[in-house]
Symmetry: C2
Subunit: 374 residues, 2 copies
């Protein structure tokens, strides 16, 4: 695809696999869309894998090919930033199950010639990580200087360190959790039910009709979006401010700015995301429980690991609150793994990890440089 | 209707009105379904009005005529309880806009002979209160010994004290707020969009078809239900416990108990509530801003009032958190109104006001008796 250096190297690779999945099945072949920035150095010691969140993509630091918007983490990744193509070989791939180039329910099942739809295997965060490991093999990267991610990306970073400890020198885990809570699952279940309640979902077989369940997916996104913002942040941004009208309309149009904002968030999401992928990735998140994968003891996930960890939480994040990061740090301490942890202040709730945060940049920069100096 | 004393006196009255609404219209006639318990004493000084929450009803202390379940507040209302038919003349009416006997979108517009549906006027909390005042006029109750409510019922109690200060000796306001926040509005907007996205909603004209938008309403209820529970309460009750199956199914059935619970909450709600009423009452809640009705200063709502106030919040209630009650208390203090305030501990979030709480009973009992002794 594009080799324009502004965009990094943008590629899609089809790996033969098979990829053995936690659900028991095998996936073969495996498409992975990814971007790289910078150059792998002589001893292949400068690779950093960046993992994206639920609805993210691999355009971490390049303009989005459709929307033209800047990459989703240019605040942290780019020339002069903590993760810098001048120093690092940066890799970011679209997760397995997504709809932006990697294999997922919207891609073609080679056995049938039709989209997988709901016959795509249910996947886990660890399956996403295994697919990324296959990509690194393909790229000749045996060991990562660091794996870095926020939200679901942070869960992948944790899973990387637990699954391939010998391949991860450092892990940066931002605004994440070691397991989805009952409340996390509940919100996702609302979203899934909203999609599945839309008659256009058709059991997932909506691709041929070209008329996807946009209304249901928009409702799902609206519900999820509330969890990404803090109550105080919503109040500061919108409060009870009305739309341009002078007074309440005593009707059901979007009277309040927050209503209009949410509707826009829901609708615009349906232009860029596949409803079935939303089902699959929320399911992977709900299944995530790193302790369960290690005999019910979270510390066991990290025992004997030489990986360094950096945990960051935000004080107004109620989706994955600071207590979740603290639980991880306690487990790391119990396992004897080196861990630094900071709770940053932000009014922006969970979304803070995507926004401009000089403190976050300082933390990540310091942590990565200390690791590179060793 | 029934005069069986076990059920209290169950009645529906059609009042001629007209009821002047905040939206500018007039409603006439006005049906009000209500129950009474106990007897009005000689000087008509023992009347207590109980106000119900969003999806509540007037069966506050009697078995529900359809489900057979006990009244929704038998913990607080009944023989030997703080609100006692032996001492009090207790009134509870179905709010305007609801679907359980009082005028609302599902009732017949006498001008057309068809259900009002979305031509029913948009109403406010104050409109509900005005309808209740008409009912009290009909019952010969000039002044309330107390108005008592939780959640939306607490907002009605506040609105009663602000709108008819001379008619309210005491107000008990539990787990409530003086205005809906941006986050409150956001959650309701998700619910409304879920209903309206259901093709069976048909712009609100689904009554004749007999096929209401149950799927959309169920999603709306699921999203709202999460806000009624605390994160810790959900974790304690469900955590990540799976359904009867031994292991994850790697599918999209309700694997986790919390999913099954939420689906049940959503579905069972659609048997007992009208989707259009849900739209109207959530709208009334979102419009609620007692300060706005009084020149932008909350204290103005209570200035010169002789009403005594009792405010109660619950520490894990994140829908209407303690800070909202504190704001009301500050306004009452600024207005010179007598106010007592207590935050109770409970693991159950907003729902705590409906559950067994000896502390809540003690607070309400002590406050009411102190008022009756004056």
């Amino acid at each position: 695809m594009s080799d324009d250096p502004r965009f990094g190297l943008r590629r899609t690779v089809t790996l033969p696999g098979p990829l053995r999945l936690d659900g028991g099945g095998l996936l073969s072949p495996v498409d992975i869309a990814y971007e790289t920035y910078g150059t792998l150095n002589g001893d292949a010691s400068n690779a950093i894998l960046i993992c994206h969140a639920l609805t993210g993509d691999h355009h971490v630091a390049s303009d989005h090919p459709v929307t033209g918007k800047p990459g989703w983490w240019v605040k942290l990744v780019g020339p002069g930033k903590p993760i810098d193509p001048a120093r690092h070989f940066i890799i970011c791939s679209n997760v397995l199950g997504s709809c932006l180039g990697s294999s997922g329910p919207a891609t073609i099942n080679p056995a049938t010639g039709d989209p997988w739809a709901m016959t795509f295997p249910v996947i886990t965060i660890r399956d996403m990580v295994r697919a990324q490991a296959m990509l690194l093999d393909h790229l000749g990267v045996q060991r990562l200087s660091a794996v870095v991610g926020g939200s679901m990306g942070g869960m992948q970073a944790l899973s990387w360190a637990a699954t391939y400890p010998e391949r991860v020198a450092s892990a940066v885990v931002i605004a994440a959790t070691a397991r989805h809570s009952a409340q996390n699952i509940a919100f996702h279940e609302v979203g899934r039910q909203a999609v599945m309640a839309d008659p256009k979902w058709r059991g997932g077989d909506y691709y041929a009709a070209g008329d996807p369940p946009a209304a249901g997916l928009a409702v799902a996104r609206m519900a999820a979006h509330i969890t990404y913002l803090s109550e105080a942040g919503l109040t500061a941004k919108f409060g009870r401010k009305l739309q341009s009208r002078e007074a309440k309309t005593f009707g059901f149009d979007a009277d309040f700015q927050v209503e209009s904002y949410l509707r826009h968030q829901g609708l615009s999401f349906t232009d860029r995301f596949d409803a079935n992928s939303y089902l699959y990735i929320t399911r992977a998140l709900d299944y995530f429980d790193l302790a369960e994968e290690h005999g019910g003891v979270l510390a066991n996930a990290f025992r004997g690991s030489a990986t360094r960890f950096c945990l960051v939480s935000f004080d107004t994040d109620w989706l994955y609150p600071t207590a979740e990061s603290r639980t991880i740090v306690h487990a790391l301490n119990a396992a004897g793994a080196p861990a630094s942890f900071v709770e940053l202040r932000s009014p922006f709730g969970h979304d803070a990890f995507l926004l401009d945060s000089p403190e976050l940049n300082r933390v990540v920069d310091g942590f990565l440089r200390a690791g590179e100096g060793r």
